[in-house]
Symmetry: C2
């Protein structure tokens, strides 16, 4: 083997087999029923329905190389667990696919990848799951981390869905939004698992996490449900990071709150009487009303913003909502 | 939107949102408990232990663009299901992560990706699973398909593992091997699900699929189990494709059988009495003995090839076994 060591002695190129052997030396996963290092991970059984989701976290899009492997691995897992949270599911296990080029100049790549895998493991563990399986591939392109999360519902809960908002219901948001990207908060999204489980148990019908911006994601929820959502802009709580971002962006904190992505608070819809009961239980930490669901109103579109100054229909592509594919 | 149509009218660039809407028009998945198009898929419950595995299938490594999206999508799912087969698990659900550049000259990329997703769906369905969740990302690099498969064990079966081969046991192979890559058979690996479930029920202790070549994968199994595997080369059945490959490669069919990757037959170890009972049941379709497991013999290494002409220790790197990372 000819390898050029980087200044700290780490190989500048990485090896799939060497990383596999390093993985075999780790003490995790701890709860496998099958053997470690096997083709597939045999897990313990769990109660409730299985819930699956998958997400990809890519260098230059979702993280920069300079953020470090650990931050990238953590973000990849946390944003996927946020999709479980949006489904009122409890995390159980995650898998990680890693793609990376053979070498990146000046980067001790094998150490970076070990940090990414360790970060993914740690983030999963902090939320009650384990990193149980993975795949490594050498590809000339940006580093990409593909995470699949397996969770389970609490038994007895009716599953939520983005297409289950019903006219007459309230629209809820689980916390303040905006300014995540410039603050680096986007690297540590907090999966709102307890908030998701609690509001689903209270009777929420539709739920999503805010990953592409509050307006864009509310629009998607309304479109999937065939309804009009009326959003009261004065009820949106911009995150302190949105205030900071506004200081230099020339935009308002509200504009950041409406249109910034990578936030991972949850939106939910719920009948007014279920919300009242939930509030009386005092369990509504973070959840607050931001609007209402109405029967589809073609003049308002799927999402209408209502402020003291007036009303406006929001259309994707016209506002700050964004689409990786640039479509519509 | 400015898009240059390709000759058949398909857009030459693809859009995440447009593909999502196309997905929403499909009739699958059929068995979700939650709603379609949601952040995560809520599934029906199943018996047995959950089994998870993940694999990445990459343009230029595992498939060429010219093979078509359908073939690429099928292969991505089938090779992942093969890892479930190697764990004696029954497929239940798969997720698909798609990464692709914005455009590839001369390729109607959105149509290619729809074909890949449809191919993945069809391959899953043929083996009793459903494509239940996915993620799309636009990345300037080769097309990459990341598949995670969720399966479940038959209740009561002791899980197999690659580290569970025990001295005194027999080494089995589920079918003929070699020549997969030049024949394009590699694009349609057959997950040996029934063979895996049957041999595990018969008492197999260790099991793996042959993805990187019989010798390399047997070496890994022996290393993980801390044993020496003695392989009787005259018991290996080269696949007809290995005969074809040998006609032009200058290598023997056996050499192709020992060292070609992308085969996806299963290897297993089992006690002689369990094998005898399994054979008496007449259920041994495909399974045949190719060697024995011995206590670790340092002079023989983890894998010793025994032919009528003599014995030789096999070392990864020295032979045709390969490692994506080029390590060892």
């Amino acid at each position: 083997m000819s390898e050029t060591p980087t200044p700290d002695g780490s190989p500048s190129t990485w090896s799939e087999d060497r990383l596999h052997r390093w993985l075999a030396e780790q003490s995790w996963p701890a709860t496998l029923a099958g053997s470690r290092g096997h083709d597939a991970a045999v897990l313990e059984t769990f109660a409730g329905r299985p819930v699956l989701c998958t997400d990809q976290c890519i260098e230059g899009v979702h993280f920069e190389l300079g953020a470090g492997g650990r931050a990238a691995g953590r973000k990849a897992v946390l944003r996927t667990l946020s999709d479980l949270a949006a489904t009122a599911a409890v995390p159980f296990a995650v898998t990680l696919g890693v793609m990376a080029p053979r070498s990146i100049e000046g980067v001790p790549l094998e150490a970076w990848l070990r940090a990414a895998i360790t970060g993914a493991h740690d983030a999963a563990t902090e939320h009650g799951a384990e990193l149980v399986a993975g795949d490594l591939a050498m590809v000339e392109g940006p580093i990409a981390l593909a995470v699949t999360a397996l969770g389970h519902t609490s038994s007895g809960t009716v599953p939520v869905g983005r297409d289950r908002a019903q006219p007459g219901q309230l629209v809820l948001l689980s916390g303040p939004v905006g300014g995540s990207l410039p603050s680096d908060r986007h690297l540590e999204p907090l999966p709102r698992i307890e908030a998701g489980v609690a509001i689903a148990a209270a009777g929420a019908t539709a739920m999503m996490d805010v990953s592409d911006g509050l307006a864009w994601d509310l629009y998607r929820l309304a479109r999937a449900s065939g309804v009009t959502v009326r959003l009261e802009t004065e009820r949106i709580q911009p995150h302190p990071d949105a205030e900071d971002a506004a200081a230099s962006s020339g935009r308002t904190p509200l504009d950041h709150g409406l249109h910034d992505g990578e936030d991972h608070e949850l939106i939910a819809t719920i009948a007014a009487e279920d919300w009242a009961a939930f509030r009386r239980e005092g369990a509504a930490s973070g959840w607050h009303v931001i609007g209402t669901v109405e029967a589809m109103d073609r003049s308002a579109g799927h999402l209408q913003l209502r402020s003291p100054e007036g009303h406006s229909a929001w259309l994707p592509g016209a506002g700050r909502g964004w689409d990786y594919g640039g479509g519509e």
